[in-house]
């Protein structure tokens, strides 16, 4: 199978999954598409040099997506501004569960990139810490530490939201 067919096939079978992962990381549809596109570009270059193994292509691209996300966060352009202020208030009176989800979602968006990646890989992808460590190029202990700090931040955010 030609390489372009391999990637096309990968997108057919795993495209949605990869885009969902990217969206969980970025919280932005366009950025998620950019992320996957960039990851595919890098993967293609890599697979041109060395043919991909048959059994772990999706995992390889997933790793590329996570790494590209972390790389972009490191190189974030000056035009992006991180803020903890939401732009506006929507509508009141929705079910409290909806609001609660939204609070957690917003708090996730404020986490540092590596912590957020660990949260997504752990609680969205349900990966064990060992695999997360391999994915983000860190030690398992580092993953546990990142997860602890992220959870603590989320708990604090949650308590603040509850008080307010």
């Amino acid at each position: 199978m030609q390489l372009d067919e391999v990637i096309a096939d990968l997108m057919r079978t795993s495209g949605d999954r990869l885009l969902r992962l990217a969206y969980q990381l970025c919280h932005d549809r366009a950025a998620a598409e950019d992320l996957v596109q960039e990851a595919l570009t890098r993967v293609y270059g890599s697979w041109l040099r060395r043919a991909p193994a048959v059994d772990n292509r999706e995992a390889y691209v997933r790793r590329a997506v996570v790494n590209e996300y972390l790389r972009r966060r490191r190189l974030r352009s000056a035009s992006e501004v991180v803020t903890d202020e939401v732009p506006d208030r929507g509508t009141d009176g929705f079910d409290s569960r909806v609001v609660e989800h939204d609070e957690v979602w917003r708090a996730l968006a404020l986490l540092p990139a590596r912590q957020r990646a660990v949260m997504v890989l752990r609680y969205y992808e349900d990966l064990p810490d060992r695999e997360i460590a391999a994915l983000i190029g860190a030690k398992e202990a580092t993953v546990r530490s990142l997860a602890l700090r992220a959870l603590e931040s989320l708990r604090v955010s949650h308590r603040v939201e509850e008080r307010s």
Binding site: D4, I7, G15, A22, Q24, R29, V86, P87, V98, Y123
Partner: protein, 346 residues
Amino acid sequence: MIEDELRATMSAHDAEAPSATDFRPHVRRDRHVPSIVGAVIVVVLVVAGVKWLQTGRSPVTPTRATGQAVADCPTLPRRADLNLWVPDRSRAPRHSLVPDHTPTSVTLCAYLHDSGIGTPTGGTRLDGNLAAVTTALRAARPARSGGLACTLNASATDFDNYLIRMAFGSAVVWVSAPGSHCLGSTNGRFSSGTNLRIDAAQAYRYGRWDTSTDYSPPGNCSLSVDPHAARTLPPAATSMTICFARTPPGRYTLYRFERAQLDQVDLRLAAKYDRYAARVPPNRACPTDLSPIATWMTVHLDYPDRPDAVVVGDPRCMRGPGGLVLTGAAARQAYLLFALAPTYLH
């Protein structure tokens, strides 16, 4: 447990993610991509786009458009700026969206379906009581910081953006009506926590700002079943009236869609429908992970050659008391409209 909430939150936002069928290339200016890589990306996207094309999705034709109205509508700068951009804020008041005067003209500029190209897809000059527009816009509350109650189904918007052009003699004030649930309207100086998109969309559709009196419920929106309705309903309805009920009980929103409008909704939300449909289990049991905003709805179907029919039920599965089930095109449209429900309920 925060871990459980994390899982639930991420899962709840899953449907907002782009799908491979929507995946399209973006123009890249920041770096040179080797041509061969570019070529393969094109191949990938063509393959991924085949299914998208097969859905028959096509550009939306605006419901109402006049030449002069469109001429009043600007081209938007960049996709990223669509939501809160206004072309000119020099005459915008600082403490409300619009001044307390009756406008001499009101134009609604539509940028439908998030085309990303920034050109208006249509424009309409409003008729009727223009003072009602001022009243509605001045009632918009200022934005509050520190909290956002944004629906989980923000992605269920159709990404239509509107700009409201209010002319007061020679002075013009622009107000945005963003497609995102999570943003309020702004005139460039005053930001509101109220999103006027629902009103703008309705005014654009009907050419008047306040159409509620024209579309009052037929009878009432109570939970009832037409005893003459068939167990499964033929799809060739000439119109469909939807009563969306919401919590707390007793509040509802009603929309009536004529055949042509149903077709348009069908086009605009085909992809979203597919996503929702994919989440309805084959046995038609109600999914438990959808937003609880719309708790039930009634669907009134009008037929040219047989008695009207009413289906009542949970919009997530369209199964009503007595086992009535919507099928075929009618079911598809009902699902589409359910996808729109979070947009319309406010």
